[in-house]
């Protein structure tokens, strides 16, 4: 009978040796033994359920780009074999061992030494990678915040944009949580060891990482369906293809790295090829995704009716955008459902600067509005009106008479 295998997403942080050991022992008790530990996916082989001890230790000089174990890894393996520990595998700087003997001597018996080795190992890959990732997320958050605070109406009226804005701070917090959790853990562990204890247990961040992917998935599905629901099918397709492309690129990089390792390429050569494939692959992926999302589509494409209004609606704002034929105007009606956003949205829209021109509050009884703002942009005239819980923007090239304004109000049903 052929052996059965199982693959699992690895959600433990690199320094969480305790979480990894406990998890592997539970898996072994259920009859699943770790065979290949990857950076993200772990492969298990089925066997007789057994009480097996696992231990995770670290070799700071080790690299995922090494064609074979380095001298330090081999020496450690030899030491561990003497004490009955068999090497299962390694990922990044972590080395995983198992022992079938009852109550074996642990691999690490001095907590101070263990902490120092972990600190050195994390300095090599975990800390730089997570800090860079957190900085990128914070930069994206900053860009998103600028766009959102400049004009919140567009964001609040679309499910896709609303979920994106909600997701960004959550995403940034999750990404920043990992390096922060590590430094907190390092400090707590040092304190505990100084008073004769052991390294601390990063249980909270372990739970966070376990739920990270399902939360991202829910938000992603929400963003895609929200964007498609608003009629922006191309945008939704772009999101789906982008996600597929991202995972495709990650897989390509893994395949490249493993291929170079199998060919016995040196660490330096492997890293150089990895970076080249990453840069070329990223450009190719974005180009392919753009082409697939925007250049291909249903062949029975029908020209839309230019006067049919486009409606975006969430529980916060309903936005209707369209054009009237006679009198010829472009309009945007924003019905604010959540009162608390009304003054803020009005303040942002009325103070918005376009081509150095801003709205000026004016009196115009013809609009029959509670508040009225006006600005001229070259040959364009723009009106911003407040009627009940709606903020209305009207753009036109023609001079509007009192009768035309009444006609507009009537046609828009305000």
């Amino acid at each position: 009978m052929s052996a059965r295998y199982k693959r699992e997403l690895m959600t433990y942080l690199l320094f969480d040796y305790e979480g990894i050991e406990e998890h592997l022992e539970k898996m072994a008790a259920r009859g699943w033994f770790l065979e290949t530990p990857g950076n993200t996916i772990w492969k298990y082989r089925e066997g007789e359920p057994a009480e097996v001890k696992y231990a995770v230790t670290y070799v700071p000089k080790a690299s995922q780009f090494d064609p074979e174990p380095i001298e330090e890894q081999r020496t450690l393996e030899e030491f561990c074999r003497e004490a009955g520990w068999e090497k299962v595998g390694d990922f990044l700087q972590a080395q995983i061992y198992m022992n079938r003997r009852p109550d074996p001597v642990p691999i690490e018996t001095e907590e101070e030494v263990r902490l120092e080795v972990i600190r050195k190992a994390m300095k090599k890959s975990f800390v730089p990678a997570h800090v860079v990732l957190a900085l990128i997320m914070v930069f994206n958050l900053w860009l998103g915040a600028i766009a959102f605070f400049a004009d919140p109406l567009d964001t609040l009226s679309g499910w896709g944009s609303l979920l994106t804005v909600l997701f960004m701070p959550i995403g940034a917090a999750v990404v920043a949580a990992n390096p922060i959790a590590y430094f907190v853990w390092l400090r707590r562990s040092a304190k505990s060891i100084a008073s004769g204890g052991t390294c601390a247990s990063p249980k909270a961040v372990r739970l966070l990482n376990k739920w990270e992917l399902p939360v991202i998935l829910v938000f992603f599905i929400g963003m895609v369906t929200g964007t498609a629901g608003e009629g922006n099918v191309e945008g939704a397709r772009y999101m789906v293809f982008y996600m597929i492309g991202f995972f495709g690129l990650v897989s390509l990089l893994n395949i490249t790295k493993n291929f170079m390792k199998k060919r016995g390429a040196s660490r330096r050569k492997n890293i150089a090829v990895f970076v080249i494939v990453d840069i070329i692959g990223a450009f190719a992926m974005v180009s392919l995704v753009m082409w697939l999302a925007f250049s291909t589509g249903p062949s029975d494409y029908a020209e839309p009716d230019p006067y049919a209004p486009e409606v975006h609606e969430t529980f916060l704002v309903k936005q209707t955008v369209g054009e009237l034929e006679e009198p010829n105007i472009y309009y945007e009606v924003n019905e604010i459902k959540a009162d608390m956003f009304f003054d803020w949205c009005l303040e942002k829209r009325s103070s918005e600067e376009t081509y150095r021109s801003t709205y000026v509050e004016t009196e115009d009884a013809d609009w029959n509005a509670e508040q009225c703002y006006y600005r001229a942009l070259g040959s364009w005239e723009e009106w911003l009106l407040v009627k009940g819980c709606s903020i209305i923007e009207i753009e036109t090239r023609t001079e509007l008479t009192a009768a035309a304004k009444k006609e507009i109000i009537q046609q828009l049903g305000l």
Binding site: L76, F79, V113
Partner: protein, 79 residues
């Protein structure tokens, strides 16, 4: 003689040094100049205590001896 076995034997099994700890300690001691590699046979390595290592060991022993003496004095109510 194997260090892990020897430590366990000379302490009547009270102290066990794990292989990971031993590996890292040997590296730290060698870097600090407290031990020196004398022979390499395959993956087996032999070390000897250097002058600096012997002094550090003696100082550590003295520190522990004084602590033990403080304890004895306290328990016996001397001074």
């Amino acid at each position: 003689m194997d260090i892990m076995t020897e430590v366990s034997e000379i302490t009547d099994g009270r102290v066990s040094v794990g292989p990971g700890t031993l590996y890292n300690l040997l590296e730290q001691f060698a870097q600090a100049g407290m031990i020196r590699e004398t022979k390499v046979e395959g993956r087996k390595k032999s070390y000897i205590l250097t002058q600096k290592g012997a002094v550090t060991l003696r100082e550590e022993f003295e520190r522990l001896r004084k602590q033990a003496a403080d304890y004895v004095r306290l328990v016996n109510g001397e001074d």
